[in-house]
Structures are given as C-alpha cells and as structure tokens.
Symmetry: C2
Subunit: 213 residues, 2 copies
C-alpha cells in the first residue's frame, strides 16, 4: 500500500490519527506520575518518552497542544518541579490505558485505575508501586515546537529504581524480564521479547553481509 | 536496585551509557536512508524516531552532538532536503545494527550491510527494499536542545509504504505482522507481539479497577 501526503490529508481524521501514530514503530508505554500543590495526585500514560542524553541523564516527552487536551500532568510538573516516569507492566496495560480518560482534577488516576502510589523520602512526586522500572525526574525546561504547538518537556534523572534481576553487570536492562509494554498507535499494546545483543560496531569488525539477490 | 543521580554520575561511563539508554523503555528500530549531492547513499540506524503530530504528519529524531559522531545522515538531509525512515525487520537486526559503524563517506551502508536501495519516482532519497514500513520524509526544521548539544530534527511525511496485510480498515498498523524490531539501550534487539487493543478512553466507560491490596 502506498499513501502519498495528499492521500493522508484526505483520509478521515480518526483513521489518519491511527495511521500516523503507528508509523514511527514500537513506542514505550510509560505512566507519568505527578502531584498538584493541593496534594492531588495524577497519573497519565505517555508513549512519547525519549532518551536525550546520558551525562547528564536526560529524558524528554512530547506534550500535545493546550487546546486539545487538559494538561494536569504538565501543570503539576510546572508547579511541583518533580515527576516520575514508570514503565507499564504488561499485566496492567488495561489499567494504564484508561488513565488517558479525561477525569476531573479531583479524581486520582492512581486510585481510579488501580495503581498504588509509592514515595521516596525527599522526593515530592508519586511513583507507581506496580512498575518494574521507575524514574524520579526533575523538570529542566520546555522547548516549544512551533510548527504544531507541541512541546518537548525535558527533565533530568534523579532516581532510578529497577528490578535487580533485570540489570546486568554491564548496565544492560532486559525489558522482557521487566515485562515492560510497548504501544503502537493510540490503542494497541505489545509484549516485547529479547532476540539478541550485538557488540559496539567497529568498521573492521563488521560481518561480511551479502545483499540477497 | 535504587540508583540516585550521584550513583549514576559516578558509574563507569560505558555502563552509565548502557543504563540510561535503556530506561525510557522499548525504542523503535529505524533505518534512515539519505543521499549526498555527489550521489553516495547512506543508511544509519536510529532508535530515537518519535511521533510529533498527525496533521500535518510530522516525525522527529534526535541527533547526537557533532563532536561525538560523524553526521553523514544530517549533512545529506541538509543538502538534499529529503530522507527516508524504514522499520527494521527482525530478520535483519544484525545487518541494521552494523550500519552504526563509522564507515568512510565512500562506503554505502546499503551495500556493505546487505540492504537494497529502492526509489519512488520524483523522490530523491533511497528507501530500504527489505523494510515492511517505509516513510518518505521532507525536512522541515532542526530545533537545538542546548542543554546537551543534541538536535531535534523534524520532517513531514510525503510517502508511506506499508504491507497491505499490516493495516486494518481503521488505520491500525500491526507491528507484529510487520515484524518490526525494537531496541533497548544501544545493543539489544527485541521482537514485538501484539497483546490487545483498547477503545478510546471515555471517563464514564472506564472499567471498575480495584487496587489490589
């Protein structure tokens, strides 16, 4: 199937949303946990968390335009300065998916969707107890993406909590052992299975690949 | 295991790279195809392709600092204006991984790593014939991320070519049928298996989740 830009522009809106949200490939399923000034907690699923750098350890995520969605997560991050990123375990993908419903500010998605809050001394944002890999983040900056009014929200890793058995001596984290979920599009959830590790690629060590005819 | 920011800063460099490159969760495995002004093609694996918006259809990816890595991909995008993003099929993860070796400009990773170039009339960048989902992109803009000298490179979808059997009537793309690979960290490759679709989440339709004690 070959769709041009014009084909995509004339595709019905929801179908286009489904298609374009799928084409980047598998996306990570993460829950972002925050707390408001008045002590209400919030939990929301994001598929746009991205690695930005290792030293300092920086992660980003993409925020939709303010006129499209309520932004409790972002308001809380701005007010509080801290937030958590928690891998979604495959056993709780349904719970995680429904955090995307537009609940009132008064309702905590932790309680409504069946997750437990967990805290670290001196860190003001709630972690997800059920998550196999949890990251405590400090907000750094927001970079506007003017072409479509989205925002790249950048934070630094302050805490990393991960299952002991998932990390090797070299620092490889096995996402199959974590049972971390993946997402395609807006609604489809995946399990991941490790195939193989390869070494750092040096030009003189590249195998002799042949193009198949 | 609980690692603080200070623990991470004092971790040996390569181990820290491995850890921090893994914590965002599963990442998509994509090959970016480009051509230089003098007609040399280039192919490079990226795990940072991200959905930015559906109308217009925009994707981004993160470019490392210029002093860390050669940037044939970026130089070609700047010169040519067009590039391709191609899902890595699980059957070719080893080939795809080795495109990350620092080959000389004269060597095309297509040929060296066993991929075939494929072209669309009127589109100047090479696609990967073996890929189950191929996207023709037009460069839009680069946004600097000053805190660590990385760059968010943004482009618009001009062409989408996908296996007929992978897309449903609703526009859902099944990545298990595509056999699209995922990546954790810098060196670990994953297979993805579809678990479930859930509907668009409306507050009054959320199931009655109970927190387990």
């Amino acid at each position: 199937m070959h769709l041009t830009k014009n084909d995509l522009q004339t595709t019905e809106r929801v179908k286009r949303l489904n298609i374009i949200n799928s084409i980047s490939g598998i996306k990570p399923a993460n829950l972002i946990g925050t707390a408001s000034d008045d002590g209400k907690t919030n939990l929301a699923i994001f598929s746009s968390v991205i690695h930005l750098g290792s030293n300092p350890a920086l992660l980003g995520f993409i925020l939709r335009p303010a006129d499209e969605v309520p932004r409790h997560t972002y308001e809380n991050i701005q007010a509080n300065g801290f937030y958590t990123i928690n891998h979604v375990p495959t056993a709780m993908i349904e719970n995680a998916h429904y955090t995307s419903a537009k609940f009132d500010h008064e309702i905590s998605e932790f309680e409504r969707c069946g997750f437990h809050e967990e805290y670290i001394d001196g860190f003001s944002a709630p972690f997800v107890k059920e998550s196999p890999l949890k990251i405590g983040m400090r907000f750094i900056e927001s970079i506007p993406i003017n072409i479509n009014n989205t925002t790249l929200v950048i934070g630094e890793v302050e805490h990393l909590i991960v299952l002991d058995e998932a990390m090797t001596e070299k620092g490889y984290i096995n996402l199959e052992i974590c049972q971390t979920a993946g997402i395609s599009g807006l609604n489809s959830y995946y399990n991941v299975q490790k195939i193989m590790d390869f070494p750092y690629a040096r030009p003189h060590e590249v195998p002799d690949f042949k193009q198949k005819a």
